[in-house]
Amino acid sequence: MSSGMKRALTLVALAAVPLAVLGVFFVLPVSGMIGEGFWVDGTFDPGAVLEVLGRPRVHRVIWFTVWSSVLGTTFAVLLGLPAAHLLYRREFLGRRVLRALLLVPFVLPTVVVGVAFRELIGESGPLGFLGLDGSAAAIIAGLVFFNVAVVIRAVGASWESLDPRPAEAAAALGAGPAHVFRTVTLPALRPAIVSAASVVFLFCATAFGVVLTLGGLRYSSLETEIYLLTTNLLDLQAAAALSIVQLLAITALLVVTGRLRAVPDPSLARSTARHRRPSRGDWPGLLAAGVVVVLVGTPLAALVVGSLRADDTWSIANYRALSGEGSHQALLVPVTDALVTSLRTAVDATWMSLSLGLLVAIVVTRRSRSRSERRVRGLLDGLFMLPLGVSAVTLGFGFLITLDQPPLDVRDSLLLVPIAQALVALPLVVRTLVPVLGGVDDRQRQAAASLGAGPVRAFMTVDLPAMWKPLLAAAGFAFAVSLGEFGATSFLARDDHPTMPIVIFRLIGHPGAMNYGMALAASVVLAATTAVVMLLVERLRVPSVGSF
């Protein structure tokens, strides 16, 4: 066997598992649903689908999705960058706590956050005078609230170990701080920033609760429209048309970001320098971090305050009630049980997405020998981003109609939920690992190999130390995604094993002051759990690599 063929086989073997999972749990269900739109009563009829694309309403929906996502992404990046600098390049008391707290919004169910936001900006809220309720500005703020953590974490992980010397060299050559940032730091961070931005864009474009709750029904995005068409109107032609629009849009996005992400030399020198304390020159970071803290903290504070109110007094009655089943048995299982289910599911989703993501990242970042090989790797890279951009409703319905025949009769399996969540988390994992793995000098691996280390050992020597932190960051992400995932989970979770967001959704959907208070309390518990898990993850440091 030629060594070229061997490489191709290795590539295929490494990619086989993630590809199979993606094929069965994503491509199959989604194409099943889209197929329902194209085949009407057993005959192929694409006309109806194409006709949908001509509707003015569809144009409005697409346009809103695009501009709201662009704005949401832009603000998330503009706020996230300086905050990432402060949180990952500066040493100060409580920065780990702050980092963990900023990831909290990511897991909160949109129903609850929507309520918390609206209590602030609603007509009767303390910020009601701004007139934000039901405005596009509220939607954008909500999108930023949920996603700024993605930018902070993904860019921070890359920034944390960036070699400061090129920047110092530029400064020594007479470049001011802004110039240094623009000409040295930014190019080095570009892959991470583009990665984070593309993920955030997809999150924004598929946001569901935020658009409905904060937009006061005046705005429709592709996601809300697909939901309406599928669950309410059963207009599968139109839903298929919009799903195809989503797929095309993601593909376009991936092509663009792929271009933007490509850098001539992805090697990143890792630094050994200690980070210093913040100084006056860090004001952009301090300012942005301040804005982020206010943006993220205020609704959270409102949530905490609300959860501590019962019968118009301060009390922890709402928390006490969590071990019960809600007033008038709104729940099948106590919230505490749901928390256990959530954590277990999250553990499964995390290891699944980490192992799949690691394989994908390895496949994608290995140096390509030929142009076609490079193209195949790029294609794989993009393929695993798709689950982020496709409607959870399409996926959920697709599961039901396609995964019903042996050997794939898994509609009942408890594993369906973690698998679905792992698929949603996978792009985040891949996007966190790829910049770092791509930044590892290939010659390090070759040096290890020439000293007698096999591929596995070389990986452990060279890649793992470089990846340890991003891997932890990715694990945190995956865990958080799983804890907070609602769209697909609500379709797949079995009644006897609901997760926290589902229980919270149920509580807030039933009348009774106690249920409302419990929903808030359960959200606070979910938030606190997330923060604690994030802190623990950050504490997991390996002595031998702790020095950089």
């Binding site: 329902e36 309403r57 129903v111 309520v115 609206r118 209590e119 609603g122 007509e123 009767s124 039901g134 609760g209 409905l212 709750t213 006061g216 029904l217 005046r218 309406l228 669950t231 309410n232 109107l233 207009d235 008038h328 048995q329 709104a330 729940l331 099948l332 954590l343 277990r344 599911t345 553990v347 499964d348 995390t350 290891w351 039901l400 109609i401 019903d404 399996s413 408890l414 973690p418 793992l464 130390p465 379709f491 797949l492 079995r494 009644d495 006897d496 589902i502 149920r506 807030i508 959907g509 039933h510 009348p511 009774g512 002051a513 409302y516 208070g517 390996v542 002595p543 031998s544 690599v545």
Partner: protein, 347 residues
Amino acid sequence: MRLAAPILAIVLAGSACSAVGEDSSPGDETASDRVVLVTHESFVLPKKLEKQFEEESGYDLVVRGSGDAGTLTNKLVLTKDDPLGDVAFGVDNTFASRALDEGVFAPYDAELPAGADAYELAGDDDHRLTPVDNASVCVNVDDTWFAEHDLAPPTTLDDLADPAYQDLFVLPGAATSSPGMAFLLTTVAAYGDAWPDYWTKLMANGAKLTAGWSDAYEVDFTQGGGQGDRPIVLSYDSSPAFTVADGKTSTSALLDTCFRQVEYAGVLDGAANPDGAEALVDFLLSPDVQAALPDSMYVFPVASDAPLPQDWAEFAQQPTKPYAVDPASISEHRDDWLREWSDVTSR
């Protein structure tokens, strides 16, 4: 290998918490030993009753609940060739004809409790759907607020468009919420083809739309958890029973603004265990379940002799003449109505 220890620790911790391997889906159990109930996310029955069913019938009960009534109906339609279970509960009269047209349900003429025949679905002549509960979507008002502001509360749909009540009404939208859709149907029934004009007036009078019931009730309604500032809200006829303090309710439902939603159960066509499915439909009509419905699912039983909880009996009044729209007509026009409604309300 200094890396090995932490990795091992994580793997161990992970496997200890993992749910893999304890998938409790009963593999060795044949389909005829169990009944699978497909329902929406609001379905709740006390555990005691579920056990009682299992003991009396000898079947294991498996409940699969997710999504709202619309999602449930569409799921059933999409999987009709390979049903998700044996029996479905939660398809309501706004979605019923779609399910019937698509042949989701098999006929089963259950023995109805007293009074339940009033809720049977018009046009369902071969008894595919069995009524189990009902709840009416009505406009609710905060009586305390109106007393404090020395203003007579509204009573009719027309009142809601009266400038005296400007900026006081909050309701969930028809496109995203089941009670919202019910209110749209109320206006269709009340105003016929002129319903868009009514909505134009309603919106001009400052009515506020939210995505879901919880947004309207919990955030914007003066009696909700978030203590908003709108004293008129779209909710249910049973809602006043949940604002009781010191033996008095602070809200009331306007019984001339109601649309009745009836929820049905039915045996799925192609069920693996049709006998079990029929047994479960019967069970849902049994006195015990009917009596448990108000507390579990916030709905009224269809059995007229089922006892109501005290707060309900005292404070939750049902409309005597709710508005109604022919299910077939809903099925036919839902799409057009929603589209027109969206146009009118986002203008």
